[in-house]
């Protein structure tokens, strides 16, 4: 009995540690005072200001544009890559593809960032939205591959063969048999890519040009002069947004399962 209560207390303490800063942020998004000193009174003004703050809205739209484009490209590229890797025979190609996939996951983000700016300068690209996009696609896609590969391994090996024996062309079998089978992995990969893109700072910070700012870069530049509580309000919104997104995806997933059985 003592042991059980000890476990519960420990669990609560760990989650308190993880959530303390988030709770603080949410509370301070309702704080009247602009400084992060004391809580002086309840207000909703930061939520109102949010919709008229050009700088913050621009950063938000940049973040979202980058995240959405990255998610679409990374999910497509990564899913096809996982399928190709899965169906290729053991050998140098498979090994090389898997190793290349692990490189950006294992390398620290600073190193990826500096290697990418070296490349962009070498290619003579102008730094800006396009370089940030290329970089985000590069570091997000490996996670999609890692999310999809296990689903391919779980798939019945004979399904695609059966489809092709019955006369389906490979691309048709891919569309109608393989992709529906691995859909949960693809959705997971897409979510992961989206989250990583929204949350990234280091790679965006290095590969962006003048004038293009996403939320992380904006927050970083604000950190010196004090963070505008509008950012707290926005983050509270985004947290709720992500939560709803997850619930919706879970619900769709459950419905699909019900339809199958």
């Amino acid at each position: 009995m003592v042991k059980k209560s000890f476990r519960n207390i420990y669990t609560v303490l760990i989650f308190l540690f993880l959530y303390a800063p988030i709770i603080i942020l949410i509370i301070y998004s309702f704080n009247e005072s602009k400084s992060r000193g004391a809580f002086t009174g309840f207000t909703l003004k930061w939520y109102q200001d949010l919709f008229s703050n050009r700088e913050v809205l621009k950063a938000l739209s940049n973040t979202m544009i980058i995240a959405v484009v990255t998610t679409i490209v990374a999910t497509t590229l990564g899913t096809l890559a996982a399928i190709g890797i899965h169906f290729s025979r053991k050998g140098p190609f498979k090994q090389m593809a898997l190793n290349l996939n692990y490189l950006p996951i294992l390398n620290p983000d600073v190193v990826i960032a500096v290697s990418l700016i070296a490349l962009y300068r070498f290619m003579g690209l102008d730094f800006g939205l396009s370089t940030v996009l290329l970089s985000h696609i590069t570091f997000c896609t490996p996670y999609v591959v890692l999310a999809v590969l296990p689903k391919l391994k779980q798939m019945n090996v004979h399904l695609a063969e059966a489809a092709m024996d019955l006369g389906a062309k490979p691309m048709y079998a891919l569309r109608k048999v393989i992709i529906p089978e691995i859909m949960p992995g693809i959705v997971t990969g897409a979510l992961l890519a989206f989250t990583l893109s929204v949350d990234d700072f280091a790679i965006s910070f290095f590969t962006t040009g003048h004038g293009v700012q996403n939320l992380s870069i904006l927050i970083f530049s604000m950190a010196r002069r004090g963070i505008n509580p509008v950012i707290n309000a926005l983050s509270t919104f985004m947290l709720i947004g992500f939560f709803i997104l997850l619930l919706v995806i879970n619900r769709i997933g459950r419905k699909e399962e019900e339809e199958i059985y």
């Binding site: 993880l18 942020l25 600073v110 990826i112 500096v114 992961l192 927050i219 950190a223």
Partner: protein, 278 residues
């Protein structure tokens, strides 16, 4: 079917492999960073790195990240164990999800929020004053940087350990019980050794971002807690000496590869790493 992977492999060669070669090229040359024609082969950057200032920064980075990794292990193992032993699968999944949700809030902002908790007029000090104690200097030192690392990277330790523990064959534990082993013996001789691959993966997943961070030390650290990540950032963003910055990046990569080689020997499986977050 193999062909559908070609675009991706091409992409990775261009955006991962070629850039890494460029960094190596930069590391072994000097010249005007903006003009590739001026580059000449040189080991000066490595010599410069061996000077006391940079060695001190490197030692500090290693020390702080190793300490953080161990704290993550000490804090993370019990919670992974507790979650893995919950009977209902739904409960387990929800608790693991609770480790992922904080990542939906910008991590700079979450790290920054610690200023409100630890600051001079922060929550902890206000509370201490209320109890009649003196205020403590909780910010801008090694302690606050370690706290930031543990806070940000704890999930990377918990998730791989959890995924190993939850997949463990229960029959092995039952067999040990039937043979009369006590609970602590079972943990020491059966459960813990079997969970080592998860622990090793956790070590890599925490150590790598911790040793290379520049944001945590930037936000929570002071002048005395400059880390190798900060020096690399300075070289690329402000000083413009890409050669020296590249040299330090290469050395950082070398250290991480070394750590990974050690943890891989311990049975670390990278597939259970960050990709297992979902």
């Amino acid at each position: 079917m193999k062909k559908v992977a070609y675009p991706y492999v091409m992409w990775m060669v261009i955006f991962i492999l070629v850039p890494l070669f460029l960094v190596v090229y930069f590391a072994f040359t000097t010249g005007d960073s903006k003009n590739y024609d001026t580059f000449t082969f040189s080991l000066d950057n490595f010599r410069r790195f061996l000077s006391p200032i940079y060695l001190e920064v490197m030692t500090r980075s290693l020390l702080l990240s190793v300490i953080s990794t161990f704290i993550c292990f000490i804090l993370g193992y019990p919670i992974a164990y507790i979650i893995a032993n919950k009977r209902s699968a739904k409960m387990r999944n929800n608790m693991i999800l609770l480790f992922v949700i904080p990542m939906w809030m910008n991590f700079l902002l979450r790290t920054y929020a610690w200023l409100t908790i630890l600051g001079k007029n922060g929550i902890i000090n206000t509370f201490l004053n209320f109890l009649g104690f003196e205020s403590l200097e909780l910010l801008y030192n090694s302690g606050s940087v370690i706290l930031g690392m543990v806070y940000n990277f704890l999930p990377f330790m918990v998730l791989p350990i959890y995924s190993v523990l939850v997949k463990m064959d229960r029959k092995l534990i039952e067999a040990a019980e039937d043979l009369g082993a006590s609970r602590s013996t079972i943990f020491r001789r059966v459960i813990f050794p079997l969970s080592l691959p998860g622990v090793m993966t956790g070590f890599t997943m925490v150590f790598t971002p911790a040793v290379s961070t520049f944001i945590i030390s930037n936000l929570l650290g002071g002048n005395k807690t400059t880390l190798i990540g900060n020096v690399i950032e300075q070289q690329f963003i402000y000083t413009g000496d890409w050669h020296f910055g590249s040299t330090m990046s290469i050395i950082l990569m070398g250290i991480i590869l070394l750590v990974m080689a050690i943890t891989n020997k311990g049975g670390g499986d990278l597939e259970g790493g960050r990709g297992a977050l979902w």
